[in-house]
């Protein structure tokens, strides 16, 4: 007996067929002794199952139910429409997507290759040649693997620092710049300021403060203009006579 016939016999025995189908299956089973026996077996099973419907009488009471409901609260629980278990996966997905978006938009840490540069050539229009302090070495920044913090410039030795004496001297004499201080200390007959004494950082400070620097009569001052030259791109400088400069403006 094949599985299909077995299925039909089950449906017939359990009453899942209409009259026409039941008749045709009964005819088919009548020609097959095994199918007929199986059908009888299924019908007996169905009859026995119906006997299982008999259950012992329950001891259910409305009072017991009322007590239980009163214990838990008589009013129906208020629904919380905004909270549902279906929101949990949505919230988790949104969190993951947001995390990746933030990660993708985070700017990459740029690693400067140089934090200071030696100035070897003077800008056009300047009559002095500032030299970088030989003790100051340019330190490479962070390694190529991409550290998050740019490395601070390293000095070759403690002596590479700008001499503090100068600063102290400037501070004591209330001078705005070491360069100006040097210029003031020079005798009127000497030439311009010694360019070797200037380094890159002090030159920058001079640029900012030279306009208000005190000057002697024999020594011209160079005023570096804040705007740049259109053709060369370098900052323009003007040589002025110290006699024409009013200190303290």
């Amino acid at each position: 007996m094949n599985g299909k016939l077995d299925k039909r016999l089950l449906e017939l025995a359990f009453g899942d067929m209409n009259a026409d189908e039941a008749e045709s299956v009964r005819k088919a089973a009548a020609n097959d002794a095994e199918a007929e026996a199986t059908l009888r077996q299924y019908e007996a099973m169905k009859m026995d199952l119906l006997k299982l419907r008999e259950v012992p009488a329950p001891q259910l009471s409305a009072e017991r139910l009322r007590d239980r409901i009163l214990t838990d609260g008589l009013r129906p629980k208020a629904s919380v429409p905004w909270f549902s278990r279906y929101w949990l996966p949505v919230a988790a997905s949104a969190f993951v997507v947001g995390f990746f978006v933030i990660q993708m938009k985070k700017p990459s840490v740029s690693v400067p290759s140089l934090v200071a540069a030696n100035i070897e050539k003077p800008a056009p229009g300047l009559d002095f040649v500032p030299k970088a302090d030989p003790g100051l070495k340019v330190a490479a920044a962070a390694d190529a693997s991409g550290a998050t913090k740019p490395a601070a410039p390293k000095l070759a030795s403690k002596t590479a620092r700008r001499p503090r004496v100068k600063h102290d001297w400037v501070a004591k004499n209330d001078m705005p710049s070491p360069t100006l201080a040097g210029a003031m200390m020079k005798s009127p007959g000497t030439a311009g300021p010694s360019t070797s004494a200037l380094n890159a950082s002090s030159a920058a400070a001079d640029t900012a403060m030279s306009a208000s620097a005190p000057a002697t009569e024999a020594e011209p001052l160079v005023l570096i203009q804040p705007d740049k030259d259109v053709d060369t791109g370098a900052q323009r400088a003007t040589e002025v006579n110290a006699n024409n400069v009013v200190i303290g403006g």
């Binding site: 089950l10 449906e11 899942d16 077996q41 259950v55 012992p56 001891q59 629904s79």
Partner: protein, 206 residues
Amino acid sequence: MPTSIALTHQGIASRLDDSSDQSLVRRAREGDYDAFEQLFERHRMLVYRFAYQMVPRRDDAEDLVQEAFVRAYQNLHRYRDEAKFTTWLLRIVANLCTDQARMSTRRHTLEQQEAREGLLWMTEGDTENPIENLEADRRVQVLRKALAALPEHHRMMIVLRDLEEREYPEIAQMLGCTVGGAKLRVLRARRALRDRVAPFLNEEKS
């Protein structure tokens, strides 16, 4: 005269409407607890029969029935009128039975089995032949044990379709599947039951 007949019909119809499950549910939702008690009185045996077949201990079945009605009351606002109230109720108790089956192993106490068997000896049979009665009782016992030993999802199908004689669309609605799916599940459950019972029936034949 025709007017009075029409009014009478209207009155009967409105009274029937008032006592329908849907109207009782509506009243219970509005805070009328008596309406919910009417629902309880009306359907408690249906729920109890189902629960008893799923957990064949009377006290467990009674606890399940009470829990099912408590949950039904607490979740009345979630009940939609598209389904029958009994379908919704049976779904609640089916979920409870599944939870209980997962949490605890089957507890057949020896005393209860013995008491049941002792009771069967004293019951009157269908026929006047006592041997036939004994044989019928033995078959029912075999079937009951086989049903209790079935996996919970198969047992639920047998109980719903063959004991409670629920229609396939209702079973499908209860289980949240198609009618074809419900039929397939019932067929598998019947085959599983037959496979368990067959050795005993063959022994009887031989």
